[in-house]
């Protein structure tokens, strides 16, 4: 982390408010999903707040964002109506996409914001937005948000090349938690991602994505560069996902309720272990243990010390000992989120 000055305090407080709002909003979404008002999958971005806030806080009108299936935070902080956003997750006709899209397929033309549930699709989308911006001779940029798992998808690699070859004003934000659903990304990835981006002659930075200040410095530098030079920039931001791949993540579920989850899994596993044909027993044990160990590894995302919210509070406490400042922000946001949820259920028709 870079040293902070007292004069940064008001900016950091403002960004803390954005992070806190994003966290609380997503926690409210989680509760609503758990209560059964949201169907299907729900991919949470809790743990990504420092990354999203650092980028979105520096965007101006006309800048496009191309977001993956984990887009709640970016959409919320891009000032899209929080009531309409939540209603969309609930499939309501008053949602921002009239209930047609749901949380993986969010679009707001007037906010220059698009998303996709297809891994890697953010790359070509950001390139296309950037191409149009460049053609129109604006100073605007396009941002692609995606996970490290998407980096192995052909269309994303192709878009790195396109952005470089055509000098497109694209900011590639790779949110790297080293998990592609239940796969450890480093085990299915050759070489380093940052070297990959650099090999396309794209200026690149590797950043601790849990740390707002580091992210802020990196994105400030990158965004200025993109606006002024019309060239792509790549940031690999290491982060965590506190809810795993999606709510009800199978690995985290094992972690939270091992006895019940193992009860169902054990029978077939024992059969596989002692089936007549197959590899040798020691190798069977090794392979089984390797998969089971993923459950333990997934739990590391729950650690308090890797929560960006705790890290930013630590930074703030170094700047000021007026705890009231944060408390006031938290109270204000808590109240705001309560009002949003209340309004959502007024429109939705009550909460059972």
């Amino acid at each position: 982390m870079n040293a902070l000055n007292k004069e940064d305090l008001s900016l950091i407080l403002k960004l803390y408010e954005m992070m806190y709002k994003s966290r609380k909003y997503e926690e409210a979404v989680k509760k609503i999903w758990e209560d059964g008002y949201i169907t299907g999958e729900m991919h949470m971005g809790t743990g990504e707040e420092a990354i999203i806030v650092s980028v979105v806080s520096q965007l101006i009108d006309g800048d496009y964002i191309a977001v993956d299936h984990r887009g709640t935070s970016a959409f919320l902080l891009r000032s899209i109506d929080p009531v309409q956003l939540l209603l969309e997750f609930m499939g309501h006709e008053k949602g921002i996409c009239c209930g047609n899209g749901g949380h993986m397929h969010l679009f707001s033309k007037e906010h220059w914001a698009a998303s996709s549930g297809i891994v890697g699709a953010e790359g070509p989308a950001a390139c296309g937005f950037a191409l149009a911006l460049k053609y129109k001779k604006t100073k605007n940029i396009a941002v692609a948000f995606f996970g490290e798992g998407a980096m192995n998808q052909g269309m994303l690699m192709e878009s790195l090349n396109l952005s470089s070859a055509l000098n497109l004003p694209v900011l590639f934000i790779c949110k790297d938690n080293n998990w592609a659903i239940t796969t450890r990304s480093n085990e299915v990835t050759g070489g380093s991602l940052i070297d990959r981006a650099k090999s396309f002659k794209i200026e690149s930075l590797e950043v601790d994505g849990l740390d707002l200040i580091s992210m802020l410095n990196a994105t400030h530098y990158a965004i200025n560069k993109i606006r002024n030079e019309s060239k792509p920039f790549f940031i690999q931001a290491h982060c965590i996902h506190r809810e795993g791949h999606f709510l009800g993540d199978p690995l985290l579920r094992f972690q939270k309720d091992p006895i019940n989850e193992f009860k169902n899994a054990l029978g077939p596993l024992i059969k596989a272990m002692f089936a007549k044909k197959g590899t040798k027993i020691p190798s069977r044990i090794k392979n089984m243990i390797k998969t089971i160990s993923l459950i333990i590894k997934s739990g590391s995302q729950l650690k308090k010390k890797s929560d960006p919210m705790n890290l930013i509070l630590k930074d703030l406490r170094e700047l000021t000992n007026e705890e009231d400042l944060f408390k006031k922000i938290e109270e204000k946001v808590d109240n705001e989120i309560d009002q949003i949820v209340k309004k959502v259920f007024e429109i939705y028709g009550g909460r059972k």
Binding site: E41, G102, T182, P268, A272, M288
Partner: protein, 335 residues
Amino acid sequence: MKTLKFAEAIESAIKQAMEEDKNIIILGEDVHTLRVNLLTQFGKDRVISTPISEGGFLGMGVAAAMAGLRPIVEIMMIDFIAVAMDAILNHAAKIYFFSGGKWNVPIVIRASCGGGYGDGGQHEQSLWGWLAHIPGVSLVVPSRPINAGGLMYSALKQDHPVIYLEHKLLSHYWLDYLGLGGRKNIKIDVPAEGSEGSWPDKWTSIPLGKAEILKQGTDITLVGVGVDVHRALEAAKILQDKKINAEVIDLQSISPLDIKTIKDSVEKTKSILVIDEDYKMFGLSGEIAALLLEHGLSFKYGRVCTETTIPFNLEKELKTLPNINSIIEEALKLK
């Protein structure tokens, strides 16, 4: 005969086939967790986890098949096949023909398909019409544990590419992953006879291109695959109360299509209703009508299909997909 789940039947058939044939391997995203039992038994040389790069690993599977392996390549959801379409359309499907019939591609492409659980239009499509459109690939859609295992076992004995679609409402683990996430307060209309049922101690092949008549009838023919078969059976019960005796055919395989069984039925009933969760235009439903006309039959015809992008809103989604109301409404129009 044992009573077990749909997905367990698939796994059991794969296990038996892998024990018999060392060249069968599994390639796909997350297979170390999704297929942990097979990984444990057969090892990581045969159950290989891939990055999220469908275009690459499906293409790799095609060439591995050309070089003597028999890969099952898993695409998590058939919607994602769009990213890897080239490997099927321009390669897997054409190499046998291009090589003058001298080079086979024995690959099985396994993917989940279908909707009914509120996951939105990029994750709930069926797409079998789009895929079966391509000459050179077979495509099967099981409806019950017994044909889920039998068709998989059969697919693994073919010398040519087979696309195997596993409906998410029938496969308990997919539905739990994507629809429930461990929640107990979500109600989804799962056809009980599809998701659990009897299957044999030892798998034998169900020939591709052979439909099965699940209910004999005289007044109208209802045809479909996957979940639609169960909707048809449910509709047949309601029609029975209205003195309409429906015949229900489970196509099992879309390509090749068992037009003979359909034709024999329609010759008897003089009317057919195709129930097709896939898109309406240029697909299975129209193809069946065309084939029957080519065979010189004269009959009443209707279809219940998905006509638009699937809406995220579950209520709207259930109205968009074929459902018991739309099936009964169309069936009555034909009488």
